[in-house]
Point group: C2
Chain length 219, copies 2
C-alpha cells in the first residue's frame, strides 16, 4: 500500500471524437495529433473496395457486405451508416479493449456517427474542427474542385448546416494552421486526463486508508 501514486491512480483511456464540416481540414489535423499525442486512431470498417494506395487494416478494414452485416447483428459497431452503396462503421471491440488498457482512442467520424457514439459513450470528448473563416472555407472548397458559384454556395451552405449540432460537442478548435490545431487537441487530451471524475472520492478514501499506516516512523 505504501507509496501509492496519485498520478497512476487516475490514469485511464479516453475516447476522443473529432468531427467537422468538409473544408475544415480535420484529416490533416488528426494526422498531426496522432503523431504528437500518441493517441491510437480507430480504423473504420467498410464494404467499399480499396482505392489505389489504400491498405487493409491501415486506411480501413475492407470487408464483404456479409461480414459487415454479421458485425452489425452481433452489436459489434459503436456506430455505422450506409453512404450511397457502401457501409462504413466503427468496430467496437478494438476501442473498448484499448480504453480498458489505459490507451486513448481517436475516432475521426462525421457528425451523425459522433452523435450515435455520444448516446452510447457520453463520457467521450467530442471536438468540432472549424475552418478559420468563411472566406478560407470558400477558398478550400474551390481548391477541391467546386467551380460554379452555385456549387460553392451549396457546399458552404452544407458546412454551415453541419455546424448546427456543434453544441452537442465539448470543444471547438479553429484550424488556421494544422500544427497549432493539433497542439490544441493535445492540450485538450492532457486537460481531460486532469479532469476530476466520479472516482475522485474513492482515490481520497484510499489515501486516508494508506495514511493510517503512517504512525510507523520508518516510512
Amino acid at each position: 500500500m505504501y507509496g501509492r501514486d496519485f498520478a497512476n491512480t487516475m490514469k485511464k483511456g479516453l475516447l476522443f471524437v473529432v468531427s467537422g464540416p468538409s473544408g475544415a481540414g480535420k484529416g490533416t489535423v488528426c494526422g498531426a495529433f496522432v503523431k504528437r499525442a500518441g493517441i491510437s486512431l480507430s480504423i473504420s470498417m467498410t464494404t467499399r473496395k480499396p482505392r489505389p494506395g489504400e491498405t487493409d487494416g491501415e486506411d480501413y478494414y475492407f470487408v464483404s457486405e456479409e461480414r459487415f452485416l454479421k458485425t452489425v447483428s452481433d452489436g459489434g459497431f459503436l456506430e455505422y451508416a450506409k453512404v450511397y452503396d457502401h457501409y462504413y462503421g466503427t468496430p467496437k471491440a478494438p476501442v473498448t479493449t484499448r480504453l480498458a488498457s489505459g490507451i486513448d482512442v481517436l475516432l475521426e467520424i462525421d457528425t451523425q456517427g459522433a452523435l450515435k457514439v455520444k448516446s452510447e459513450w457520453p463520457d467521450g470528448i467530442f471536438v468540432y474542427i472549424l475552418p478559420p473563416s468563411i472566406r478560407e472555407l470558400r477558398r478550400r472548397i474551390t481548391d477541391r474542385g467546386a467551380e460554379t458559384q452555385a456549387e460553392i454556395a451549396l457546399r458552404i451552405g452544407e458546412s454551415l448546416k453541419e455546424m448546427e449540432c456543434i453544441d452537442q460537442y465539448n470543444y471547438c478548435v479553429v484550424n488556421e494552421r494544422f500544427e497549432a490545431a493539433a497542439n490544441v487537441l493535445t492540450a485538450i487530451l492532457t486537460a481531460e486526463h486532469a479532469r476530476i471524475g466520479r472516482d475522485i472520492h474513492e482515490t481520497i478514501r484510499m489515501y486516508k486508508e494508506e495514511t493510517r499506516c503512517y504512525t510507523h516512523p520508518s516510512i
Copy 2:
C-alpha cells in the same frame, strides 16, 4: 463583415483558480505557469505588515485595516477572510477589468476562498494541486520543519481533510515535477479556451449572416 475570424470571435478572458493543501507546492507551480502561459496573477490585499523582501503591489497590496474594511463594505472583494489577526482578500475590480479585456486571470487562494469565488463566478476554472503521494507529502512537510510524529500526522491529516472538497473543483493536477504540473495547467487553459460555450450559436448565426454576402463572385 467579410473575413470575420472564428478564432477572434471566441476569445475572452478566463478566471483560473488554483488551490491545494500545504505541501502540494502550488506556489512554485503557479510561478512557472504565469511565466509559461502569460496569465495575469491576481495580487491579494492584506492588513498584515510586509515581511523583509516583500514589495507592495507585487507580493500583496499592503493596506490599513480601515482601507480594507472600506473595500469590504463597498463590495470590492471577490472573497476575503480574517486569518489570525490579519485580513486577506482578492480585489474584484482588477480581476473583472482584465477578464473583460480578454486577459486570463490566475487566483492562487485557499479552498474556502475558492469556494466563495465559485459561488459568484461559476464559470471559473477551478484546479486542485495534489502532492504525488502521501510519502512525498510527508517528506515535504518534514522539510518545512514538522518534527514530531504527532506534528507530521496532524499536518497530513489537515491536508487530507482539505482534499475533501476536491469535487467542487474541475481539475486535479498532480505536482510530481513543477514544470510538468505547470505544463498541465497551461494545457487546461488552452483547452478551456476551446470549450464550447453558450455563445456558440450566436457565432454560427453571424457566419450565416456573413455567408449571404457570398453571392458576389469577387469575394
